[in-house]
């Protein structure tokens, strides 16, 4: 891949005694969809605001599209903030066009583009409606369209899925995959792992302002030990001696749960069963999900955050 679209180097942001973001470093390659995962209060929004130069980091440096200042390249960035809001009295097309002109488009082009986008994403009938008349989901779509109307190279979406029904979540995913297909870089934050799993080329997990993980979804899953559930009436003694097995426990349902070392091959277990004449009545292998990774990594913090 080419030069990174975004690079954070040892970025810290403190508010008085409170450290919102702590020594965060990460790199987002151009052309990828990058997930920014973390529990509530992890510092996701603060990080995104610093990337956009809405607020300045206390220390550390940020390079966006090769520039140390996001404002210098603002015309090439699109942003959807976490809390969604629109001018209530403005018409849908006018808002999209207005934000596009603020990103440097000419008025005429911005207007044409607004109508085109509304049509493409099924909102053509609401182009002339005042935004106060739109439903929440529609309003949010309008806002996303406003964020990408100027066809930015780099799109930052803060919690794009929150508050959307399943159908509109699919539309949102479609918008993101469209952007990727056109070679744009997308960074989005979420705490719903399913979206990240489907969409992300790379992701970062942060909690309490610190980065816990940064890499591909595959790499993330590798972090967790693989587990195999085996149901058998035979003795499983021989399996305990396999080098790939780290632990074997019995579950409530009477099956054995075999934990493998990271990166181990599941096939080796089956092979060992045959070799030692262990006849499986049931065998189940589940690839760990991002959800598992997330819970494993930030579990205690997330609880603390929700109980606060």
């Amino acid at each position: 891949m080419t030069a990174p679209a975004l690079e954070l180097s040892h970025v810290t942001k403190t508010y008085g005694d409170f450290t919102a973001v702590n020594d965060l470093s990460l790199s987002v390659p151009a052309g990828c969809v990058y997930g920014f995962l973390g529990p509530n209060g992890a510092g996701k929004t603060t990080s995104l605001r610093m990337i956009l130069e809405i607020i300045r980091p206390t220390s550390g440096s940020i390079t966006v599209l090769g520039s140390p200042s996001a404002l210098a390249v603002r015309g090439r960035i699109g942003y959807l903030p976490e809390e969604k809001g629109l001018y209530k009295k403005m018409k849908a097309w006018a808002i999209i066009a207005y934000f596009a002109t603020l990103k440097g488009m000419s008025r005429r082009a911005a207007k044409a583009r607004a109508y085109e986008l509304l049509k493409r994403y099924g909102l053509a009938d609401f182009a002339e409606a005042r935004t106060e008349a739109l439903s929440k989901g529609m309003g949010q779509k309008v806002q996303v369209l406003a964020a990408i109307a100027h066809d930015p190279e780099f799109v930052i979406l803060d919690e794009p899925f929150s508050g959307l029904d399943p159908v509109n979540q699919t539309v949102m995913e479609e918008i993101i995959t469209d952007l990727r297909a056109r070679g744009r870089t997308v960074i989005f934050s979420t705490h719903v792992m399913a979206h990240a799993e489907r969409l992300c080329d790379r992701l970062a997990i942060i909690a309490k302002g610190r980065k816990l993980f940064d890499g591909t979804p595959e790499e993330a899953r590798q972090m967790l030990p693989r587990r195999v559930q085996l149901l058998t009436d035979d003795s499983i003694g021989p399996l305990r001696d396999l080098p790939t097995v780290s632990a074997i426990t019995s579950t409530a349902s009477g099956a054995w749960q075999i934990e493998l070392h990271a990166g181990a091959d599941v096939q080796a277990i089956l092979q060992a069963c045959f070799t030692h004449n262990i006849r499986p009545r049931g065998f189940r292998f589940d690839e760990p999900t991002l959800h598992d990774v997330f819970v494993q990594l930030v579990g205690p913090d997330a609880k603390e955050a929700t109980h606060r």
Binding site: R49, L52, E53, I54, I55, A70, L71, R74, I77, Y79, L80, P81, E82, E83, K84, G85, L86, Y87, K88, K89, M90, Y98, F99, T101, L102, K103, Q143, A146, A147, I156
Partner: protein, 520 residues
């Protein structure tokens, strides 16, 4: 700069679309027009003829009052006829007597027409203001005032109606004369002849003229009656003292005319006239306009900031523009709205003034006794003084000063409700110039005016108030410089607060925290 312009344009366009904006554009010209037209209309329609009775035991005063009322009515009718002629409607015989200056030569007209001089086609003789009618049956003219009042009570309270020429009319007022009006007793010569029992006169409150009416606001009749009776009583007293009433009247007419001069004006132009008085008071109106404009657009600015903040649109904006551009754009957009509003107001004022002064030549205006000349004078003052340019400058500076405060304030609040409590302080601050507005023209270069001028929040208003009174150059330049510096400081400071406040959520900051923001 392009971005600031885009923001300003949206701010202007969105506000210009609101109903409130259009209402405020129309309301001022409407008020001006109404305030000119309503008195004219009222004068035309007039108040209804007031019917009143008089319980005059002596029977000597009622005829005098009737005469005076008739005299007044004739004068009013003649005045109305002159006015009628001035409007350019001259039915044939009348045209002849309207010579130069388009006014009616009344004496010539009267001489030629005799008693029918008021009967002109198209001219409606104004209704008489008052009419003395006979006492209702059963009320004795000789009754003591208290008793007469007692008997007249049902009429006075509207429970019964008088019958005037067969039509029922309400009784407006009743005048009771005590049998011994104070000076009549002094006549000594017994010219009045009658001497009522002393007990009626000595009862407290029964002396003098008693005026009974439910309407306490319209004192015209009471003044008239009081005036006529006292004049007559004085006349009798002169006679009783052996003085000739005619001589006395002549003596009373001696009057050295007083003319006011203004030493600041060029020789030959020192006379203080109506124009000078308008010149003194016209700025007050502009101060009021300035106040209304600053106040209402401050509200717009506050609403606009809070909307963006509570909707979090601000984040999108700040990812596109710098806080500085956002602030400048907002200020410029709202200032444009304010200027448009004021422009329309002032233009409508000028238009109405010109329209009213048009077709009234100065001579005719002078003949009409001043009132009609006001629009012309206003037009002249607007043309020849610094009023309009000063207005524009002070509006801009005042607006920037207050909007700076309001931007800073609005940026620290999350909801309009939170902001309103802070707004209260600014409103209180703004009340002072409004209250002072009428005092300052009386002494435009006095201590109060000068002191307030040097207090930057009030400089625009107070200096505006003083602008036609030739304030010392030191004051003009000094206060302007101070205001410029302070406005600059306010904008700089509010820029700092705005930058931080705009992204803040939760509790508005404490004052100390704000000061900290200013330092960093």
């Amino acid at each position: 700069m392009r971005y600031a312009f885009l923001i300003a344009w949206r701010e202007f366009a969105e506000n210009a679309k609101t109903k409130g904006f259009w209402l405020s554009l129309l309301i001022f010209p409407a008020i001006i027009t109404l305030s000119i037209q309503v008195p004219i209309l009222l004068a035309k329609k007039g108040t209804p003829t007031r019917h009143f009775v008089i319980a005059d035991a002596s029977g000597e005063f009622a005829p005098l009052i009737t005469q005076a009322i008739e005299r007044e009515q004739t004068e009013r009718a003649e005045q109305a006829l002159v006015e009628f002629a001035r409007q350019g409607k001259y039915p044939e015989p009348l045209a002849h007597f309207v010579r130069t200056n388009r006014t009616l030569d009344l004496d010539g007209w009267k001489a030629s027409q005799g008693t029918n001089y008021l009967k002109v086609p198209g001219f409606v003789v104004p209704r008489p203001r008052f009419r003395l009618v006979a006492l209702p049956e059963g009320v004795s003219p000789n009754a003591a005032p208290d008793l007469a009042a007692q008997q007249l009570r049902p009429w006075l309270r509207g429970e019964r109606q008088l019958s005037v020429e067969g039509r029922p009319e309400p009784l407006f007022a009743a005048v009771m004369l005590a049998a011994d009006l104070p000076l009549s007793a002094m006549s000594g010569k017994g010219s009045k002849g009658k001497s009522e029992p002393a007990d009626a006169a000595t009862r407290s409150g029964s002396k003098g003229i008693h005026y009974w009416s439910e309407n306490l606001a319209d004192t015209a009749l009471a003044d008239l009656v009081e005036n006529i009776i006292n004049t007559e009583l004085r006349r009798r007293a002169y006679v009783a003292h052996g003085l000739d009433p005619a001589t006395v009247r002549e003596v009373e007419r001696i009057r050295a005319p007083l003319t006011s001069f203004n030493p600041k004006k060029a020789a030959g132009e020192e006379t203080v006239g109506l124009a000078d008085r308008i010149r003194q008071w016209l700025p007050s109106m502009f101060v009021y306009l300035l106040w209304v404009a600053i106040f209402s657009i401050s509200q717009m600015l506050l609403t606009s900031v809070i909307e963006e903040k509570s909707n979090r649109i601000i984040e999108v904006l700040l990812s596109s523009v710098t806080p500085g551009e956002l602030m400048v754009g907002k200020l410029a957009g709202i200032a444009a709205i304010g200027l448009t509003m004021l422009g329309v107001w002032v233009a409508s004022l000028v238009a109405i003034v010109l329209w009213k002064s048009l077709g009234v030549s100065p001579e005719a205006a002078a003949a009409a006794g001043g009132m009609a000349g006001i629009p012309g004078d206003v037009a002249t003052i607007l043309r020849t003084t610094w009023l309009l340019p000063a207005f524009a400058v002070y509006f801009l500076l005042g607006f920037l000063f207050y909007s700076g405060l309001i931007l800073a304030l609005g940026s620290t609040c999350n909801t309009l409700k939170e902001a309103q409590s802070f707004m209260g302080v600014i409103v209180l601050l703004l009340l002072v110039p409004l209250l002072m507005m009428t005092y300052i023209p009386r002494d435009p270069n006095g201590t109060l005016a000068t002191t307030l001028s040097w207090f930057p929040p009030y400089t625009p208003f107070v200096m505006m108030n003083r602008v036609t009174a030739d304030p010392p150059l030191r004051d003009v330049l000094g206060t302007m410089a101070l205001l410029l510096v302070c406005t600059g400081f306010v904008l700089w400071g509010s820029g700092r607060i705005f930058r931080r406040g705009i992204l803040r959520t939760g509790q508005p900051p404490e004052l100390l925290e704000l000061l900290k923001w200013l330092r960093r």
